[in-house]
Amino acid sequence: MIRMFHVYKNYPNKIQALRDINIHIKKGEFIFLVGATGAGKSTFLKLIYRGIVPTKGQVIVDGINIARLKPGYIPYLRRNIGIVFQDFKLLYDRTVYENISFGLKAIGATNFEIRQQVKKVLNLVGLENKRKIKPHLLSGGEQQKLCIARAIANEPLILLTDEPTGNLDPYTSWEIMKLLFHINIRGTTIIMASHDKLMIDKAKKRVVRLERGRIMEDTERGTY
């Protein structure tokens, strides 16, 4: 599903965010991306949805070389990828419902499809009775769930989540983890950047550890 060959990413300020990354992520896998702050986790995720292009090397997503992707095709790549951002990126002047329908409308879904899908994902994350309120009235965990709901609304092949349990209590974190496992079992490939030792140790999934831009460890059923 995702392959990287000798990928380097330098930012304009000469920071080497990623160095010589080689990885193969198969369809349906669940991967924890761990590492200290600044290790390059978000950068790794950005490469996959082509928020950035590699300075050197190849990134292949679902058979497509993202560096050679023409700008006109980027939207179609992104329709296969759901993203839960570290900083949420919710629209605070729209309701919970509209935050999800907005994204679906943007990719050309019909009104009927939109109603169906929004209802389905809101049910899945347990926010159906909050659909009419604005996100700033939601708790941190609920906002996180809304982000997940939005990310999976069009049933993507890949789900990228950037510290989705960042500032949550262990109970809510575990709730979100269960939600992600549930999505994973239905066939979605999930990459989750995280610092959450408790969850990672408990989950027993593949762990990829980044250190100053390099992959230092890649273990099946790993721990933090």
């Binding site: 700008p71 939207p75 993203i83 990126k89 629209l91």
Partner: protein
């Protein structure tokens, strides 16, 4: 592509007016003000131009004829002069008419003439030309005709006047150009601010996989509406204000020539509306482009 989702684009554009009413109002208000300034300058400059044209049209060529000219020769000469393309109006003034004119001009002092027995004034043609710049050339051409005693067109005055109007027009054009350029910059920056306020929306849309045009259309429509409303508003204000001002001026100076014909004023209104609308469209298109593709 636009046809599929036209309804959605318009709804989004109008919704954003509603969501950020204050922002939109501020944008419309400032754009209206800028366009008012452009409009005021346009009105001043067309009136100035009319004034200059009036000045220039007072330039004329006077052709004095020899005393022994016959009626047939006069007719012949007149048709020769008229057939020069650049002449607009050719008026014959006979010896007698010239004398009467002089009498009229002298008024009280007409007794001076009683000392002279014979009418000393020559007959003449007074010629108005289409393009004042051609006056010298035309005068030279007429000099060559038979029975022409002398050709006069106030060479110095004409040159000075033409120089003056030329400089005035160039300066006017320059100011107009700068003003339009500045207004384009200001309006597109106002739009940039309204787009900046919604950069999150743009970013999210493009991250979930919306195509560039899908993101752009609502903004283009909004930018167009903003520009269009502002320019129509400023045109209406200008129109009313202008006729009010024209009335006041005419009360004070009745015969001052001013542009009041709608045929002359309409193009300016249209120009302002086009300017506002186009800058609105292009401004939002480029501004959105900046936040696209993350």
């Amino acid at each position: 592509m636009i046809f599929e989702n036209t309804g959605f684009y318009f709804r989004e554009a109008l919704l954003s007016f509603r969501r950020s009413t204050l922002m939109s109002m501020a944008a419309i208000l400032s754009t209206t003000t800028i366009l008012l300034i452009v409009g005021i300058f346009l009105l001043i400059s067309v009136n100035l131009n009319l004034f200059l044209e009036n000045l220039e049209s007072q330039l004329e060529i006077v052709v004095y004829l020899e005393d022994d000219i016959s009626q047939a020769e006069i007719n012949n000469l007149k048709s020769n002069i008229t057939s020069i393309d650049e002449t607009k109006e050719v008026k014959f003034v006979s010896k007698e008419e010239a004398y009467q004119n002089l009498l009229k001009n002298l008024g009280e002092q007409k007794d001076i003439l009683s000392a002279i027995e014979k009418n000393p004034l020559p007959a003449s043609f007074e010629i108005q030309v289409k393009d004042p710049k051609m006056i010298e050339q035309i005068a030279n051409q007429i000099t060559k005709f038979k029975k022409v005693e002398e050709v006069e067109y106030g060479r110095e005055t004409a040159e000075r006047l033409l120089n003056f109007t030329y400089i005035f027009r160039i300066a006017g054009m320059l100011v107009l150009f700068l003003l339009v350029f500045a207004s384009i910059l200001i309006i597109s920056n106002i739009i940039k601010i309204t787009v900046y306020a919604r950069r999150n929306e743009i970013e999210i849309m493009s991250l979930v996989g919306a195509t560039a045009w899908f993101v752009k259309w609502p903004f283009i429509i909004e930018g167009f509406l903003q520009g269009f409303i502002s320019s129509v508003l400023s045109t209406i204000i200008l129109y009313n204000f202008y006729f009010f001002a024209v009335n006041k001026v005419h009360q004070a100076i009745p015969f001052l020539p001013l542009v009041v014909d709608n045929v002359d004023l309409l193009p300016m209104g249209i120009a302002i509306v086009l300017l506002g609308s186009f800058v609105g469209i292009l401004g939002s298109m480029f501004s959105v482009g900046k936040y696209l593709n993350v």
